[in-house]
Amino acid sequence: MSKGSNFKVMGKKEQWVDEVLRSFDNAKRAIPKDGLFNEIIAKIPNNKESKIIPLVHLTWIAAASIIIVIVNVYALKLQNDNIKNVLESHNNEISLLSDYTF
């Protein structure tokens, strides 16, 4: 094959490749069959299944909640006692001072 005909063939191939690469220009969108959306709707369950939490998990959650409540109550009680002590000591100091009368 001569050089000239080689170029001709290559040119033809390149042109063909360009046409192939442009073959989707102005293409329409592929549209699914009419019934597809109905099929999808039919597959979607009417009500989403609610999640079932096992009883053991619930027991652990309840136990953890009770512990948290107890700890909080204890902490409040301690804080109250502390405040009471501080007030009492303050009162004592005042009463001690009030004894010093001329």
Binding site: K13, L21, F24, A27, R29, A30, K43
Partner: protein, 162 residues
């Protein structure tokens, strides 16, 4: 409507009408089931495209795992496929293009399908793929050069596909 976008994208990857329909159904069931996990950080369409692409690529992987020879896979999925959106005079050329697209690596394939078949703007393709605009341009350049090489190697020399 999203149904058409999903179907059109799926058909670009799978080149098979039944499989594209299955994937479309699967995508919408996933959207329904996972709707609460969508955090609104991206557009809804971006999220839907991502689901579609993942499902289509998974389906292509499944095909590879089927105990069929390469020629059987070729026969069952692309020889008789004519893209429904292409005009009759371009059907043959589009078939050659889809056959070449099928051989591209996954990320080049996604960039090319979303840009040239789905016709999305580059920045949206970047958002969907989670890469920069520059990366998309690089991917598209590599995809085009790969496609050119493949198309030259399968040039029909005056014969048609069938």
């Amino acid at each position: 409507m999203y149904k058409d976008k999903v179907y059109h994208t799926a058909i670009g990857y799978l080149q098979n009408i039944e499989e594209a329909e299955e994937i479309t159904q699967d995508v919408f069931l996933t959207i329904y089931n996972k709707a609460e996990t969508f955090r609104g950080k991206s557009k809804v369409s971006t999220w839907i495209y991502r689901i579609t692409i993942n499902k289509a690529l998974n389906q292509l992987e499944k095909r590879k795992r089927l105990p069929l020879s390469g020629s059987e896979i070729q026969e069952s999925h692309s020889v008789d496929f004519n893209h429904p959106g292409i005009q009759l005079e371009n059907q043959e050329k589009a078939w050659f293009l889809l056959t070449a697209i099928d051989k591209l690596p996954a990320n080049q394939k996604t960039a090319f399908i979303l840009s040239y078949i789905e016709g999305l703007p580059r920045h949206e393709v970047g958002n969907i793929m989670g890469v920069t605009l520059k990366s998309i341009e690089g991917l598209l350049q590599r995809a085009k050069s790969q496609l050119r090489k493949q198309l030259i190697s399968i040039y029909p020399e005056g014969k048609s596909k069938k």
